[in-house]
Subunit: 402 residues, 2 copies
């Protein structure tokens, strides 16, 4: 029964917003694929007799029991994607939430507390450059004024995008009343690394690594690639290249991660030595001291090479998220209920990471055999997904049917 329900929902969502060219998903905040996902969510709520609700920040809620709480048990995730992302990141949590409810109903569970399933808007931040906009607004971590100033690549402001999609942006902002009704939030998510095993395909999150984004600006001098003597060059591509290699080495030595995945070059001409290169560093570590140390090591390598190349290096921290430790009693309760599952940290941000600062929050991870994430090749075994549904049903029963 639960299997059928899971499979049906999965097959309904699978084609929505999928690019035929890449095989990846392009479900971005307030675009047409996002609207299809939202319509699907509302239909899931209504077909189960749940109370459907759209909150002031565009997050969708499906309630079993009184939406006024108190002490509500909430589960869910998000339905949007990164550019050409995979099918599992986000949707697995939402689909598993509905399937877990189906499972609990088939068990004849009697709920002592209200239960809700949530779809948080714009978790990936693919359109406006800020991740977890729906949960950040709700938690008051992203201010209303800041949100109003966000623009997408075409210059469209966030409130205008909401309005175009038929949503009222007038009331966006912190939603303390809603948070006060919630006793616990549990998000199930496909793992984005490869720590879980066939033997233990479900784990509980301990923490989210502190992480941040740093922009390196390498200022060189535009010149002719075919005539400028080596000794007259100030080529920032060399400094950038050295910094990329240093990032890998320094991070690996410290057991951290440091990645350059985005770069912008001016003038970006084949026969022109670049005048300016911007490279974005994504770095994460188990603790903030290690993260700080790694970034400082990379900065030093960049500056030293810059001296040799005649290139001026500027470093700007564009974003920073401190370590998130999930609620320890809740985490222990989940781990106990599931009986000896792995408890593991993650390097990725999530809505659960935002909410952890304001309500008791926990996460479940489901095994990702290849570890591939944010890619069309992202994949999870159906049998692991179903184990995840059962685990989620177990912890929701434990929390809501005391």
């Amino acid at each position: 029964m639960t299997e059928d329900s899971f499979r049906r929902m999965w097959s309904e969502l699978l084609p929505v917003g999928r690019s035929a060219a890449s095989g990846g998903y392009r479900r971005f905040a307030w675009n047409s694929a996002d609207a299809e996902c939202r319509a699907w969510f509302e239909e899931q709520a209504r077909s189960r007799g749940l109370t459907y609700e759209l909150d002031r920040n565009g997050n969708q809620w499906a309630w079993l029991g009184d939406p006024q709480g108190p002490g509500a048990v909430v589960t869910g995730s998000h339905l949007d994607s990164v550019p050409d992302g995979g099918a599992y990141d986000g949707p697995l949590g939402v689909v598993s939430s509905f399937a877990a409810l189906d499972e609990l109903r088939s068990r004849g569970a009697e709920f002592d507390k209200p239960l809700a399933i949530v779809n948080f808007g714009d978790e990936e931040g693919a359109r406006f450059g800020v991740a977890c906009i729906g949960s950040r607004l709700t938690a008051g971590v992203l201010g209303r004024e800041q949100a109003y100033e966000l623009r997408d690549a075409d210059g469209v402001r966030l409130p205008d995008a909401m309005e175009t999609a038929g949503y009222d942006p007038a009331a966006i902002g912190a939603d303390d009343d809603r948070l006060a009704r919630i006793g616990a939030f549990v998000e199930l998510h496909v793992e984005q690394g490869r720590y879980l095993t066939e033997e233990h395909p479900v784990g509980v999150a301990s923490a989210i690594w502190p992480h941040g984004r740093w922009r390196f600006d390498f200022h060189g001098e535009a010149n002719h690639a075919g005539t400028t003597r080596v000794e007259d060059r100030r080529d920032p591509m060399l400094t950038y290249a050295e910094t990329v290699l240093a990032a890998r080495t320094k991070a690996q030595l410290a057991g951290a991660l440091a990645t350059f995945g985005k770069v912008a070059v001016e003038p970006n001409g084949t026969n022109a030595i670049a005048s300016l290169i911007r490279g974005w560093l994504d770095s994460r570590a188990a603790d903030e001291a290690t993260l700080e140390y790694v970034v400082e090591e990379i900065r030093q390598a960049a500056y030293e090479r810059g001296e040799r190349d005649g290139v001026r290096v500027e470093l700007t921290r564009e974003s920073y998220t401190p370590v998130v430790d999930f609620d320890v009693p809740l985490r222990d309760r989940l781990a106990k209920r599931l009986g000896g599952v792995p408890v593991l940290p993650t390097g990725a941000g999530h809505d659960a990471g935002i909410l952890a600062s304001v309500i008791p929050t926990a996460m479940l991870f489901v095994r990702n055999p290849s570890g591939i994430s944010h890619s069309p090749a992202e994949y999870a075994e159906e049998t692991d997904c179903l184990t995840g549904v059962t685990a989620l049903a177990d912890v929701l029963e434990d929390l809501a049917c005391e």
Copy 2:
């Protein structure tokens, strides 16, 4: 007199197509700045009583004497620019040509041969990606059918761009009749390196280094930058970085040049390991064997690092220009007339390099104190420019007033 003429022309051209933001020039084939430059050229011809002519490929000619030749002595250069290029690359040759004619007239020179000044269209290739389109078409090096297929970044075809600018593209193609009328072509150009000195601000070209453009495709695997274990990564940014550094090292050891100035990254997201990086290598050397050796060394370094990174490397030669040796008798005649000036090779392509394969061709270079080229900061001293005008007048007199 000649000085005044030079200064007047220089100040007329200086504001045309100059970006207020960058201070660099944006004179691209058939755009409005290009049209202004062309109107200026026609006016220079007419105000001097020269016969103005537009050839089938959109190159402009100003004739003193019979445009039918034979044995015409031709000088000139181009008026278009690279994106945000400098004021001297091209225009110095055209302005110096008119100034040299003024100088010869003030000397009372009597011409035995027809003399022409030419403005070749689209030398830089900034719009359609192919350099020296005007001279390539004329020399039959670029075919009419190929030219018709060229498109700019907005998808506009070359013939449509010509037509929009008011030129008839119907007759573009090889122009053997025209070439048959020419006895010698001399192009004056600002130097793009720093070999000429204050003592010797004018030099004669010996050759153009063989040069080419190679595209490296680095195929990795998209993945989450914050969660993918180091051992699970196939990050092409690392392979690219190693290749960039190898290019500098290998070229320097061989006395050649190798530059990565252009790169394209997919998906180019801050929190995504790249799936594909394309990097374009520009490489040049004094001879073809050295060039081949350097590119092979860089290829090997890329492949070896690719093995370590799990990244597949593909190499495609996108363009290649063999060595151009300028006409030796003509070169020696110029050097003799100018009396012991430096004779030097260059790494840059020029219309003169195209024409050298079909008519006796020579080049004069004027000192560039900073060596900066293809940049708003490109600069030459006025006193050196005037020395260049005198030198050009001297060689034209020698060639046309026998």
